[in-house]
Amino acid sequence: MQPSATRDLIVGLFVAVGLAAIAYLSIQVGGLSYKGPGGLRVYAVFDEIGGLKPRAPVSIAGVIVGQVLSIDLDEGLRARVTLDVDPRLQLPSDTSAGIRTSGLLGDQFIALEPGAEETMLAAGDQIVMTESALSIERLIGKFVQNSGVE
């Protein structure tokens, strides 16, 4: 066995490197980050969310500004999506939200389009104007009905 001080140093280094590896996996790879208490939470109600999932990104003009926290049903049996967005953003109260797809078959995300009102969205507010997910099956269904196939 080696002299005690050297051994202690090596074990200390090992523990430091091991903890760093755990931290790297958690923070960088796992995407764990400290979410400040002041994340701006707003709600948006959609008729159809398609394949939207929790943790899907929320973007404005393509820039990611937050994520979907949770999805549940409201009293009217519509999908109620909780968004967690950057609290520093000044979002007008007539901001609209739409569910978009990245690419043809990509994951779905929420795109916010800021409006022009003077008043701003506060935590707990609901986004009124929403645009549901585009369902290819429904589109085809409409097309078939309208074209009057016998």
Partner: protein
């Protein structure tokens, strides 16, 4: 004849229960000594050196190799579907959820668990444990506890290092050798792996495996037959029972918590 069969059954049952009781008493004794002074911190450091630092080379090298092989295999399979861009996700998910904790536990069982069992068993054979008892030092406190705790501490760290090296190996093969875009590889990996589902699961698995291997190695050594054959049986038993237990618990953890 019938009577003896029933007697046999009774004897087997009683000895099984007694055996389970000894295991529980052993675990309880380690647990009790772990939360009660003397802490024996210097001995713990020495054991972490033996288990963790000396296993670093094999764990890191195996990690890089496994990652590289996953990169190659994943690429050839994904290329059939034109989905090479998901290589990072495939390599990352399989490493973090399964291969990292399981392979690390198997490697550490073979590298450090067997040595642990052999050391305790030969201390038993040469009556060193009895010598400790004569000085009124509990061998569980002095010999067993630091070893079991060191295994518990070192396993998650070795697991994390294994995964990091494997991700690096997969990156080398996928990006440098096979020409997947580096940014795509890293992004698909980071998008696919989440803290709650994957990284927390890998930590849970490695902690459970560390506790299991630490317990099996020390128990096998402590209860070995005090002969040369007993030492070798304890070593073999640790590797066999340890590996099978790790694989079984891996299935149970995955089935119960889906990680």
């Amino acid at each position: 004849m019938k009577m003896t069969a029933i007697e046999m059954l009774g004897f087997r049952t009683v000895s099984l229960v007694a055996h389970l009781g000894r295991i529980a008493a052993f675990i309880g004794s380690i647990g009790l000594h772990s939360v009660r002074p003397p802490w024996r911190f210097r001995r713990l450091v020495g054991e972490v050196f033996d288990v963790g630092v000396l296993s670093l080379a094999i764990v890191c090298l195996s990690g890089a190799t496994v990652g590289a092989v996953l990169g190659l295999q994943g690429y050839t399979t994904l290329a059939r579907f034109g989905a090479e861009n998901s290589l990072g996700a495939v390599v990352g998910i399989s490493l973090v959820r399964e291969l990292g904790p399981v392979l690390t536990a198997l490697l550490v069982t073979g590298r450090a668990g067997s040595a642990m069992a052999a050391e305790i068993a030969s201390m038993l054979t040469t009556e060193q444990l009895d010598g400790l008892r004569m000085m009124s030092i509990d061998p569980v406190d002095f010999v067993v506890k630091p070893k079991a705790l060191a295994m518990l501490i070192a396993m998650p760290m070795l697991n994390a290092l294994f995964i990091c090296f494997a991700l690096f190996g997969g990156y080398l093969v996928g990006v440098q050798l096979l020409g997947v875009d580096g940014g795509t590889y890293v992004t698909s990996m980071e998008d696919a792996i989440t803290w709650e589902d994957d990284v927390a699961g890998t930590l849970l698995k490695s902690v459970v495996f560390g506790a299991l291997v630490g317990f099996i190695a020390t128990y096998r050594g402590y209860t070995a037959t005090p002969t040369s054959a007993g030492v070798s049986a304890a070593t073999t038993g640790t590797v066999v029972v340890g590996s099978v237990t790790v694989l079984l618990f891996d299935y149970v953890i995955t089935a119960l918590w889906g990680v």
